[in-house]
Symmetry: C2
Subunit: 650 residues, 2 copies
Amino acid sequence: MPVPAALRLDPVGKSLTSAQKAALDAAWKDGVATTLLSTTLAASGHPGGSLSCLHLMLTLYGASNMTPENVHAEDRDVFIVSNGHISPGVYSTLAAFGFINHDDVRIGFRRAGSAFAGHVETKVPGVEWNTGNLGQGLSAGVGAAMARKLRGHDAWTYVLMGDGEQQKGQISEARRFASKFGLNKLVAIVDRNFLQIGGDTNQVMPQNVDAEFAAAGWNVLTVDGHDWDAIYATYTKIRRGEVANPAQPTCIIAKTTMGKGVKFMENSAHFHGTAASDAQLKEAFQALGIPDRLDELRKARATTKPWAGLEEKVHPLPALDNGTAIVRTASTDCRSAYGDVLEDLAKRNNPAGKPPKVVAVSNDLEGSCKMSGFRKAAPHAFLEGGIQEQNNAVVAGRLAREGFLSFFSTFGVFGVCETYNNQRLNDINHAGVKIVCTHLGLDVGEDGPTHQNIDYVGLLRGTFGFEIYLPVDPNQTDHVVRYCARTAGNQFVGMGRSKMPPMAKPDGTPFFDASYVFRPGKMDVYREGTDVAVITMGAAAVYAIAGAALAASRGISVRVLFSPSIRPFDREAVGAAARLKGILTVEDHSVNTGLGQLVAETVGDLGLKTRLKRLGVANYASSGPSTDVFAEQGMSPENIARELERLAKG
Amino acid sequence: MPVPAALRLDPVGKSLTSAQKAALDAAWKDGVATTLLSTTLAASGHPGGSLSCLHLMLTLYGASNMTPENVHAEDRDVFIVSNGHISPGVYSTLAAFGFINHDDVRIGFRRAGSAFAGHVETKVPGVEWNTGNLGQGLSAGVGAAMARKLRGHDAWTYVLMGDGEQQKGQISEARRFASKFGLNKLVAIVDRNFLQIGGDTNQVMPQNVDAEFAAAGWNVLTVDGHDWDAIYATYTKIRRGEVANPAQPTCIIAKTTMGKGVKFMENSAHFHGTAASDAQLKEAFQALGIPDRLDELRKARATTKPWAGLEEKVHPLPALDNGTAIVRTASTDCRSAYGDVLEDLAKRNNPAGKPPKVVAVSNDLEGSCKMSGFRKAAPHAFLEGGIQEQNNAVVAGRLAREGFLSFFSTFGVFGVCETYNNQRLNDINHAGVKIVCTHLGLDVGEDGPTHQNIDYVGLLRGTFGFEIYLPVDPNQTDHVVRYCARTAGNQFVGMGRSKMPPMAKPDGTPFFDASYVFRPGKMDVYREGTDVAVITMGAAAVYAIAGAALAASRGISVRVLFSPSIRPFDREAVGAAARLKGILTVEDHSVNTGLGQLVAETVGDLGLKTRLKRLGVANYASSGPSTDVFAEQGMSPENIARELERLAKG
């Protein structure tokens, strides 16, 4: 269905014509039909909030630069729906503007395999971010607005949110980030219908939304969210810069009515998440003069899958100069190697005066994470987000999705534990973000159990997309980070805090030398051996090799395997090791969910049997120097040697 | 060392005597000595913030009801340190008030195994909550204040926070919760020194802290944080109720200087997290007239472990009437059974007009989580925290630690994924909270991947303390929830959304009947069989039994095992099953980190070998009816039967 010309509005105009309002009215009525038909036919979904937002969305698409033709253009306007459950309303709007067809939504909504999911998904053209878990969208919008600012595009970013959703703490973080960076082309729209699933927002959790946005330095406007003229005037006023502080972002508090336009749904929290019955739908359609096609469409649902061809478009990485790995011979820490690569990437790809290709998001740990070289080389591409990891993780994810090579760095406990759900949602969004965490595992200095991220493998394996890399020394870190810089996808790279001599060959030269090539899913044979194998990763490797050396000095032939790649994992190397007298795993990770468990699982999957001893973290550790804490968890070189001897002796 | 009488101040007095100020001065000087000695001897730690807060803490302990004698009294005042890294300052204050000894801290600080950890831990008497990850303390304080309010104690709760920390979103949630419940005996103290690890807070992340607290309805006062008179007057004014709105909590913005009193540390972000050198310490001590005992104490560090006897005190559950499990014969959902138990517990233990023993924290999903019966039976014990899961999880944890039987309920994705780090910290705190999550796994209706919590086992096994239970039907849910209600410790109980007929014996009577006793770490043999075994849990059980029945109808003898207890786990039952021709696991959880992996690991640990096929979630699933989504992930009864046949045929 062609989009009526009258729906295309002037983004900076002052008023609507009657033809334009008539076109909006017609689009609204189609949208009501789609919202009700899709939810009633699925017997589930969220009609109330959809109707609350429909006027706002239709006017927005009319008065901004978002079309089926420019959905992948870098300079397009962006609309992010944070309250992803109002998907029927979103699909209705996209259908009005030619992105998709009304009937496909009505037929395909909430069916297994369909792109027309209960919460918006990016398989549908025009949907910019998969949401559903509340409080995420503003951070994604901050990322989108930041991308446009970095590239110098005169494009706007809009984020629609629910009002119950305003309770989420992450929104306060996003507000501050937007304000700090002066993202004045970012507009937040709050669907203020005063209802959330549990009822009156003032009863469930009273909140002064206006004052909170104002406290963060935003412009705050209020509008009747069902009045075409008022909505249009508000949008265009903002685009003309006619706000109190044009250098800052703007929040529109839209006074709305849940279920607007369908009498029995209006102001009913029940219809937040409940579909109308057939009879109710017929009643509503009759009142609005919408033809009833319930039976016809119900039949089509049983026989048609109208979502064919709607597939996720995963964005490629930008073309970059990745430089060449440096071979270090002196003692240093892995995070300095990471810092070297970051700085090198900045110098090669972010020339002054041009939009950067590589961005780095910091969480108030610039020094600890060795990001200062990057900051100095490319200050415009260094984004210090403060102690707001949840927001910052999503900002980094969105920047990646916008086509930047995007690094996110902090300590492991903040980059994985604290932000697990944000990273999971980055993964569902195919963001392609590069999480590089320092101070991982037990090697966090004397910070103690709250800071010990000993569950990074278990958590990240809970996602399906993240590759997981744990380089064992600074030279391998350099290789791994450069690998991630040239490879699309979500990746995690973890490392400890301590300095160490580079891993060396028997002749004393660096093990990871100029000829080394990092291959995901491959272990490194650090030392060959025929009695037993020790498999290790990351910061635990120095303990494992010390223990193996001790065992070797006592006559045990130990194969020492580094497993810097946890996903993908080297099943073949495990299979070969299982043919020895035993395998010892050494990791600064919970023995319940880490490398040892992965080895156990692999041995079983291969139909083999072996004697396996898993050394690792068996309970919350204490606060002390790393060596002492490793020893406390049974990973002193002496204990490792003892376990190897025990396995070798059978 | 006895506490000088002059340090005990009148909590509602108007001014300090000169003797009192002299006593505070002396305590301050001892505290500076302890702060510097402990950090310099450990060569790590956070002296800057400790000195920033020392005047505030010493005055607070003087002017409130916190003594070594009342550390476990329900009606004591509580002081929670959210910026846990200022532990040297905290230990200094506790030593001044006789909880511990200065020298023990100086000798024991940041040593492996010591109670005097880098971030405060509750092993030290007077420390109320293990913190370190920022943004947690205010929520714990809300829980403590709520506990006192519920019990009708006229006791105060204080929470000290850093100013960089104010950036954490969770604090905005805690502010609102405190305001909603009128926690007017809660006082937040912000150490406003305008420095965080990355430097000037106004550079790292500008924030209007005052306006944010005011927007949430708090009273906001400002004080010079190094002026004994001003600090004392502020504290006592609040206790006298002399604030703008005495019905609401109060925030004190304390203007402070990082490193106060040690010239080279003052206003230096470097000393946020760096110890003074020996020479610097000597310089500081000389200026302050403190005797230098560096060498003596360094020797003692090498030979003494002064933390003996400092052990965590885990609080028992209150004595409760747990009632008796109900046997259901009609179709229902597990969450209704949970709701029944909650309501029963409320009726039995929370009589009107008395302080409740059982509390339930809701996250705007009261209806979905079936908590309405509890709310109606005990409205005063039902705490609706809104869409603020991170805060609410900590509030529930703190309430448990205060001796309530404390339930926290929401969908799995919010109670595990979104709040993983809060639950991890609850675990480190031995909180003893009962997390009951509905809408777990794939059985979340048509909400799609953002709402599918398919990693609950993998995540919770990343903690060391949480017991993990996945009952297979409503009757077993009843038993499991009552088990948790009478058993101390952190427990997780998960369930899906759908209705189902109760599991039945071959004769059609309920499988979990009146004679059933739930035993953690034991599988239920639902059907005996001799060819193969299927092991399942939670919402996947209905699919597993349908598949097993189909396979049985084709002549395969299938042992059907329910594993409602994941931690502890029934290793013996796995060992026995491994002796059959094969094991099939069926779970609505990632196959990478769930039940199947645990079975694989167990088989290996037992030194056995088996043919194991793991059915489960292999990638983010789609948005559709549960049956379709299970089928999409290979868990249709037909496919389950096929896999069983394959295993049986060898």
